[in-house]
């Protein structure tokens, strides 16, 4: 067994925490796991990604281009940016929120609309699960649980070998007590939002 996942988003969205929790849960289930994070110098607002590899034996943390089984995208532009990592016909879970980079800060590249980015994603991926994480989080009354919604969605994919109980256990050990319940709800909503046609 081996599963390679790219988590991709914007600094401050909780990419690192969720990829950590997934690895912790994989360990609980007895898998080997390794991960690497890609972030620049900024604490907030820059692009951020995590490579997560789990399996019977994992030698090194970085995933090769075109070999990731799943891309979990926290934002559409950063999801599109991770597409070259995805294997042909790979699966994408994407939070449909678009955070356009500040035009005054970005020096080059043409601006794309949310719909253009989503069509890029649909064209390249085998399966796409589009999730409005912000809407779900808003309903739950906490905008900061979007990442957990996506973890719930990831847990529902057929590729995922990690037990739901292990993921919840890893979550509980990482979160403050008062945040556990809302995150468990978010996890459940995320799980339910994955539909198979």
């Amino acid at each position: 067994m081996k599963l390679d996942i790219i988590f991709s988003g914007v600094g401050g969205q909780g990419v690192v925490v969720i990829s950590d929790i997934f690895c912790e849960a994989a360990l609980i289930d007895g898998f080997d796991a390794a991960k690497a994070e890609i972030h620049g110098m900024a604490q907030r607002g820059g692009a951020i990604g995590a490579h997560v590899r789990i399996g019977d034996k994992v030698e090194a943390p970085l995933i090769e281009s075109g070999k990731a089984d799943i891309v979990v995208g926290f934002e559409v532009l950063e999801t599109a940016r991770a597409l070259p990592m995805l294997k042909p016909k790979g699966t994408v879970v994407v939070n449909t929120k678009y955070l356009p980079p500040n035009a005054a800060l970005a020096c080059s590249g043409k601006p794309l609309s949310q719909e253009q980015l989503l069509s890029l994603i649909r064209a390249r991926a085998g399966v796409v699960h589009e999730i409005d994480g912000f809407a779900i989080a808003k309903k739950l009354g906490n905008m900061l649980v979007v990442n957990t919604v996506l973890l719930g969605a990831l847990s529902a994919l057929p590729e995922n070998p990690v037990q739901e109980a292990s993921l919840k256990k890893a979550m509980a050990s990482r979160l403050k007590e008062k945040h556990v319940e809302v995150n468990l709800n978010a996890f459940q909503r995320g799980k339910e939002s994955v539909k198979f046609r």
């Binding site: 110098m41 090194a60 005054a104 800060l105």
Partner: protein, 729 residues
Amino acid sequence: MGSKIADGKPNSFVLLNGDEAIARGAVEASVKVAASYPGTPATEILEALAEVAKTFGIYAEWSVNEIVAMEVAAGASMAGVRAIVSMKHVGLNVAADAAMTLAYTGVEGGLVIAVCDDPALHSSQNEQDTRYFALHSNLPLLDAGSPQEALDMSREAFLVSEKLQLPVIVRLTTRVAHGKARVRIREVARSSRKPEFDKNISRWVMVPSNAIKQHRALREKLEIAAELANKSEFNIIEDNGKEIGIIGSGIGYYYARSLLDTSQFSWLKLGFVYPFPSELVKKFASKVKKIIVVEELRPYLESNIQCLHVDILGKNKLGLSEIGEFTPDTLRDAFAELGLCERTALEETLDLPPRPPTLCPGCPHRAFYYALNTVNQFVSCKPEKCIGCDICEYVCSLEKEKSFNPVKSRIRAVRLDALSNMAVTCRVCKDAPCVTACPKNALRQSVESGIVTVDDEKCDGCGWCIEACEYGAITLHRDTRKALVCDTCGGEPLCIQWCPEGALNFGGKTTDKIVTGDIGCYTLGCLPPVNTVQTCLCMGGGISQAAGMVHAGVKDKVFAVIGDSTFFHAGMPGLLNIAYNKANVCVIILDNHVVAMTGHQPTPGSGKNALGEDAKIVNLAEIARSLGIEKVELVDPYDVEGTKKAIRDIMEYNGPSVIIAQRPCPLRLERGPAREVLKECNACGVCVEAFGCPAISLTAERAEIDPTLCYGCGVCETICPFKAIRSTA
């Protein structure tokens, strides 16, 4: 939430990054003293140790810089206990003075120097390879390629250190330090050592007569070290009886293993790399026909193996660079070229807008830079929006001349071509040519604001100023025949507020300042649209670079920007130097009470230490004054006008000066109420194009604030010329 490195049972698996693994290894080796200065990617070593300090009876500190940390650890070791000092690669340059001679004195208790290199410069100013520092200093070095190795090497390094009585370097790279992996932890040894200092003067006092003896002793120790390297458990041959042998160190070795069918090659993993395990490599070389060397950065293994007269395929032949880090992709290309594996067919890359690093929303540094950039503001116009309606002219004449007559305006709408227009007014030029041109000395330019004023008594309407102005921004009053120049309405130009198209803004900024930078979040002020910071060399370097420019004779006012923690680290000698050698430099200390960039570690100004205990609060202004600076100003960078006032004041001051801009990093605080944009917004763009807050985006019609990104600092509200931003509270 428990501790990552204290909770697991011996022999169990835990998920650790390389830094945490180093810390766990030190705990297992019963380390007693740990010291460090924060630096990505090494910061988490001391953080992890500080977190478990009380549990395991460890003393852990954030020292003010790396050489201090090295000396603290050295002192502990001299007193006989085990100590660890950790830092990023460039930190070892700061600590080098101590490290080089520690190789002579040697150590008593095991002393481990954990150093993280940063290939690809994820967050650094260079890509130096610490393996060469080992060669340079003669300190043994273990090179970790995974968190498991980091843990095992950290623990074993204490034993090697005590066996050789030498400090031992354990080297990581960013991918190991910040990569997490499943790691098997071991038993924590308990130590009952009593600290005791053996006053052996000939060993500890490095006067020449003693040092020469210790240098000889060092050479002898290195021979033993070479034997240890040849037998080290970190130098492992996997002999699969194949023709091709692969030698590697660091994470590159593991990339190679995950790309290739391991059974088809013989392998030599090198971990104990200085002194170089020559005998072991010779033995391996004799078993294979061809050798491939895989190592990031400089060809350290390669040149050592070549010294053994062994023929190899190294960096050049494999087409692998000394620059940047390896990825599985770069190695696959190299191996595919040799026919060792298949190439991956890759889809074409997408041309997407980048999302570069930026100062965070709410960052007080951005507010300060905005004040510094706009201290000499003028009204500027976007030709693509200007329709040439002349309303600005009417407003100006009414305000200034009390007559509704555009010919008496100080701003002029100009038709550029059939389709584009532009409004022009004074651009507060540096050393304004109009002022020089005036034969009657009637024009004066304010040093602080750059605004040109006309003395009507002296002006005789000769018009030489009009000729001198490249922008055509000066006119003559029809009736009085006196020159008319924009005075920005005292900082709130009415023309901007009345422009129906939002074509005018107050974002005009002058570039007549030299601003040297330093190392920290505020270095990001070099990026657009802030574009303030013009240098970044090394910790504390900006102040003295600025002094050098002043002594070289540059005419511009020179500012040196430095963060509070960097100031404590290496800025104080530079400040003392400008006071002593009288350099007309204004040092700006951006004081956010924390080491922000590395993840919010405490500073000597924060009132806390590494263990979370209360600590002495060191006062920056008192330091500046006691170092001989007579002009010290304190400002709140969120108060943009107040900050500008202080900057203008300093611009007129001749001599070394300090501005301390105090505002805690907002990421550590509760967010304030988000701001929202009102219908008054006309997309003038100041908040985005001049201020550059990443929480604000701009469409053709209006600005928009993302409530999930906004930290509620409210600075945009104060700088909006149209009062079109307000708090949602």
